[in-house]
Amino acid sequence: MQTKAFNRARTATILLLVSLFLSLGQTLPLQAQADATSTALPETTQCGHVSLQAMIDAAAPGDTLVIPAGTYHAPLLIDKPLTLEGQAWPVIQGDGSGDVILIEAPDVTVRGFVVRGTGISLDREDAGIRSTGANTVLENNRVEDALFGIYLQQAADSVVRGNTIRGMDLPISRRGDGLKVFYSPRTLIEANVMRDTRDAILWYSSYSIVRDNDFANGRYGLHMMQSDHHLIEHNIFRDNSVGIYVMYGNVFEMRQNLLDSNRGPSGYGIGLKEASDVLLEGNRIVNNRAGVYSDASPLQPETTVTYRNNLFAYNEIGLELLANTQRNRFQDNIMLDNGEQVNVAGGGDLMRNEWAVDGRGNYWSDYAGFDANGDAIGDLPYTSKSLFDSLLGARPELRLFQLSPASDALDLAAKAFPLFAPQARMSDPAPLTQPPALPPAPGMEAPPVAANLGVALAMILLACGVLAAGLRLDRRLPRILPRNSAAATATLSD
């Protein structure tokens, strides 16, 4: 075994040295050189590890280093434009203090590495990969056991693509951000998977695009602060406290994302705080505490927030909007079985919004009107007039009585005695009677049908078993025989 390990390490060394030897501004295919050997090579092997830093230091700007499998010491400092390509997942192992890979030059690409073992200082923001250089490309890396995963710090025009980032097993208050993009405009964040970290955060990083990612089990799936012009599409945000949160920014397009089960204490699928000029289209917002939370959005005059063709289903609250919400436009959305379809947080009403655009409103699963002329648009407006719901706006603590028949009774009473009916808080003048078709969204899973069926059948069996015990069917079977003869009575005996 030892010989084998030694041989492998030796081969790695040789590969590295060869690449170094040949690095004259161009890269040659390394496999071809694999059998080249030289006894004159400098000694770089220590206890089976290779000093990758020495190779980087020795490389010329613009070189490509192909790194074979193995474990390499951190920290790595990349201070010149280089491409590092890992083959078969080489591991860059940090010693549990500070950053693991630090990029301090533009045009650096790091691809195909396992990066692990940062420090745990939230003050230093210890990161798996930290870059302060523009045009950084971080691709197909696995960042694990990292306080901060990938940290772009004034690294404009960078690409973060296909990485998997896993946080440390720490309480949420001591975790760092899986992805932090700080003063790095025009960043492309694509097809990454992130688990068990704090936030993915874009801060002062306008014109960035977030696409096809899957961020789960964190605090903020995606947090944008003081950052404008973003496209966010085809992402999955699941089981975070909050799916997407936008704070202080302009021009956001969010399309066809899945926001599922984001249910922190004040959790929502999407939160908008002083966000202007926002379009939400074709998103599936399901099972969250609140589907969308909106406060003072849009903020800028003349701008709008537009909700078009989204699905809001099975959230405790579909839309939780503050009464300062205005110039929001809702069209062709599906509001399906949310515990409360629309809530005015803090009380008030939402009448200064357009609940239908161009004569088309939204589909409300609790719409009780009718459509006499068959144009698929209800003839009565949809209004949110639940007495209990309006109480909740003013007294959120009464939410404790959610699902209690008493709260239904209140609504029933309000319907029976219109005197008690609250003022309508919103009104959709053209509610749809048929749900509009939705565009596809990622991440839909089928529930375990067989297991559920098994459980249900087991319950029925249990019930039948209990009843059979009561009827003593076991003992009654012999009674099918004739009853009146002595022989029959004998068969009944024990």
């Binding site: 009853r483 009146n484 002595a486 009575t489 004998a490 009944l492 005996s493 024990d494």
Partner: protein
């Protein structure tokens, strides 16, 4: 077999049973006699542990209060009217109580046979006649073959035929050596079944006497109506009155008040006077 010592049952200020002390010997049969409200049923309920009481009751040495189950194990109980779970069949009912009493299932068939219900074992209990229900009650009481049979007015809700049928059965049971305690206000029941009678009045035990002496001790009298030819009515009245009997007229007949055991005397008196007795009935 059964000892009542100073049995007292109070409902608030009302004393239903007042310091009753009574001994029922093994294989003996004692009737509790008295009008409604005399406290007979209360005694039975205390014996079964259904009521809280002062004093002491033991069955075969088992204290009813402290060893209730053991005491009741020795008792078969026939209520005045058996309350049924109507949906059950006769057999199911018998089986249910057999299980409670710990009686083997093999007892069920012979017992139902004994009380003449073998043919009806698949019938719903609610569909049985009054006599059958009471026979079923007796059958249930006998399932575990207990030494003691306790009955509360066992025949009072039955018609004549059913009553005699049940009494016949009970006589057999008595001859089989059971100790019997029952309440009654029917003299023929007492005379047929009981050895001794405990007479109660307003909760107090007045006296105990052999059942044959009961009628005399309590001065039981019967009203007998005789129908005689209309033209002899006045004559009959006079003759009977001359014989010292209390007589009054009633339509086509006379009503005579006679002591228990002397019901035939007016017939002899009238016969001697050649007055034809067309019919008579007891009221």
């Amino acid at each position: 077999m059964i000892e009542f010592v100073d049995l007292t049952k109070r409902y608030g200020k009302f004393t239903a049973v007042d310091h009753l002390t009574l001994h029922v010997p093994a294989q003996g049969a004692v009737a509790l006699w008295g009008v409604n409200g005399a406290g007979k049923t209360t005694v039975i309920k205390c014996l079964l542990g259904l009521l809280r009481f002062e004093g002491q009751i033991t069955v075969d040495g088992c204290d009813v209060r402290r060893q209730g189950r053991a005491a009741r194990q020795r008792i078969g109980y026939v209520p005045q009217e058996l309350a049924f779970y109507k949906e059950m069949t006769t057999f199911d009912m018998a089986e249910f109580y057999a299980r409670l009493k710990g009686a083997p299932r093999t007892h069920i068939a012979p017992v139902l046979e004994q009380v003449g219900l073998a043919e009806h074992q698949a019938k719903a209990v609610g569909a049985l006649s009054g006599g059958m229900k009471q026979r079923l009650a007796l059958g249930l009481a006998l399932l575990a073959d207990p030494p003691v049979l306790v009955m509360d007015e066992p025949t009072s809700n039955l018609d004549t035929a059913a009553r005699s049928q049940l009494l016949q059965l009970l006589t057999q049971v008595k001859q089989a050596g059971k100790t019997i305690v029952f309440t009654s206000h029917r003299i023929e029941e007492v005379e047929t079944l009981a050895d001794d009678v405990a007479v109660m009045e307003q909760g107090r035990l007045q006296f105990v006497c052999p059942s044959s002496a009961l009628a005399q001790r309590i001065g039981l009298r019967t009203q007998v109506k005789f129908v005689v030819p209309g033209d002899q009515l006045d004559h009959a009245l006079a003759i009977l009155r001359d014989d010292g009997l209390a007589v009054r007229r009633n339509g086509v007949g006379v009503i005579v008040d006679v002591a228990h055991g002397e019901k035939a005397r007016p017939i002899h008196v009238l016969g001697r006077a050649d007055i034809e007795v067309i019919d008579f009935e007891m009221e």
